[in-house]
Amino acid sequence: MTERKIDRDTKISRRTMLGTLGAAAGLAGSTSVLPGVARMAHAQGSGPIKLGFQVHRTGIGSAYGRWYERVATAAVDRINASGGINGREVEMIAEDDGTDPRRGAEVLERFSSLHNTDAVFGPLFSHVVIGSAPRAGELKMPYFVVSEGHHVASGILNRYTLQPGITDVKSQVISMAPFIADNVGKKVTMIYPDFAFGHDHRDFFSEAIAAQGGEVIQKIAIPPTETSFTKYFPSIPRETEVVYHVMVGPAVLTFVREMGEFFGGRGPALFGFIDSLEAVDITSPGLEFLDGSYFWEGMARHAQPDQTPHEDAYRAAVGVDAKGASVDDPRDVSTYAHMFGVWETLAVMKAGMEASGYQGPDDRTALIEAVEGMTDMPLSDDHPQGDKVFNGKTHQVFGHQNITQLKNGTLERVHRTSIEDTFYEDEVDYTSQSF
């Protein structure tokens, strides 16, 4: 048992050393295990509030990451223009995680120990979230993810990880089933990447469509390294009424085009998660066949006739036109259906910090408790996508989902679910966990 002995001894000496450092700075006995040096500046509640932004600048998530960063920058500018948080300016520190779970965890260490951020937000890809979340818990760093994964609400993460700005895949998928069964078709073939989130789609949707009297008659899981897809389409049974597709990554456009070539306009109806075409111009050559097909969209890329003034303001702030493309370059299409999540997450973080009277890292748990205490989030400039309901126990937000139909190159909204449509039973109660 020498290991344990060494462990105890060094813990003491380390703590003694930290204590000495802290005392020298006029800061007595801290309960935190974090080293003291940079805590000082925060302890007085002066200086800017530092928010770490874990961003996919490189790697497979970079197309999303670029737009997430644009939205985050706009949202922080907006917060600062209206007086910051608790009267303090917000400083955003962005670090690239390379869309890699190991680097993601390392970036959290940098935020915690080098930058002394007050909280961290921003990752989309599930493997980065799950790879980083244990570190967030160990470093006691509030970690606000914008990932739409079911990982938060499923209970596998920890009390420091929250998803208050975007709905999760489970609620998105189950709320689609009634519309599909009633309006598109009951016999469904699913095509999805052989990734965990693809499996989530498969499992949640199969169950939800069965509850509507429909049936998934074929499931085609595409390996992620694939670059050509035509050879898989013959597995789609002839009696299929709807093809449900959700693909991600740089090969998505190939996938959609080859599907069009395969069916040649004679195929079943199409229902897709816009993930299959996020950041892709819907009028790209070869996509003509998509006309008439349906899409899930978190937020409708193309401006709808009844667009709220809140969304007007959001589009303007982010620099996106009515077609969801960059104002400067109409070929530069945004990840519009997802990126609002970053905007709303930052708004929730601000609200949480203000409700808890956040001063510095000692108040991190108060910040989490404040967010856990939130319930209704009304439609506003803070929540341009629509009103939402936050579930403090599962750390997950719920909101409306949109279904659009492509008509002559425009995505027109044909259905908007209620928030209740997206509810499911709680699978965890994070508030019962200790900090």
Binding site: T58, A63, S228, K231, P234, P250, A251, L253, G267, G286
Partner: protein, 305 residues
């Protein structure tokens, strides 16, 4: 879809994969065979070919066919020149030491990838094919009424995909002629067989190596220009072609051009045909293991001496 049409379709798709793969791999095979170095950056030359093709075609902005012709003439030239320059600047200085070359080409890979990300951005960019008609293929069945021909749903190929197969065959024939019928080919083969002796006979080996390295990269770029109307240009697209090319070159037998082409066809077709019988990911696993087993039982590759 019924079994027969499905198999035909999978074979056709496999043939397209094989065509692109053989072009990419033949470039690597020449470099590997003549210079005996592992070029980890080969896939990045493929990626650059695709990116340049996108840039050229959207810069011209004219009819897709014109952009495509310009791309297939210019992109490989640019990529080849760049590669030859890198050879002179770096690989020559480390004397083509096998291990150092791996590190150096990983370095080049990082630089090219990041450079492309910074100038070109992270999005996948489409290039319009010069022509693209869907060609439906008929199938037959024996019903009570006897022999019948019909057009199954989805059984077909596009004219552009057929063109890829054709173009790849032409380029490969060109490479074959270059290697066997020209003085440059003779010099290359001499260098491949015995570097020292070739040098003693007055072959400027350094220069030959720079040309070979450039040629290998240019062939990868040709493959990329051909594929980019079907897939899209993306800064991370080089990795899979790199792995597949390596596999093809080794399975074919080091330094054997016919072996490389045979292996490309074998692997491309296996990939297509196995997908008929198994679920997609399982098919990939089985195809990968099957090809690995070829090497386990024929360690020198199919055509290796």
């Amino acid at each position: 879809m019924e079994f027969g049409p499905h198999l035909i379709l999978a074979s056709l798709e496999g043939a397209v994969t094989a065509a692109i793969l053989s072009l990419t791999a033949i470039g690597l095979s020449i470099v590997f065979g003549v210079m005996r170095v592992v070029n980890v950056a080969h896939g990045e030359f493929f990626m650059l070919g695709a990116v340049f093709a996108w840039y050229i075609s959207q810069f011209l902005g004219t009819h897709p066919a014109l952009g495509f012709v310009a791309a297939i003439l210019i992109a490989p030239l640019l990529v080849g020149t760049l590669a030859a320059g890198l050879d002179r600047l770096i690989l020559q200085r480390i004397d083509y030491n096998p291990e150092r070359t791996i590190v150096a080409t990983i370095g080049i890979l990082y630089i090219l990838q990041q450079g492309t990300l910074m100038t070109f951005g992270p999005d996948a960019r489409p290039v319009a094919p010069p022509f693209n008609q869907v060609i439906a293929i008929p199938w037959f069945e024996f019903t009570d009424a006897g022999f019948e021909i019909y057009w199954p749903w989805g059984l077909g190929i596009t004219s552009y995909k057929l063109f890829i197969i054709f173009a790849a065959a032409v380029v490969l024939a060109g490479v074959w002629l270059l290697m066997t019928r020209t003085k440059f080919g003779l010099i290359m083969r001499a260098t491949q067989q015995d570097r020292e002796t070739a040098q003693a006979f007055g072959v400027p080996v350094d220069k030959v190596f720079a040309y070979v390295f450039g040629l290998g990269a240019a062939l990868a770029a040709v493959g990329a220009v051909l594929v980019v109307p079907v897939q899209q240009a993306h800064y991370l697209m080089g990795f899979d072609p790199l792995l597949l090319s390596f596999i093809v070159v080794i399975i074919g037998g080091l330094g054997s051009l016919p072996g490389t082409v045979i292996a490309a066809v074998l692997i491309g077709m296996t990939d297509g045909i196995i997908s008929v019988f198994f679920s997609p990911t399982l098919a990939k696993i089985i195809a990968t293991l099957a090809v690995a087993m070829v090497l386990v039982f024929r360690p020198r590759g199919l055509m290796g001496k």
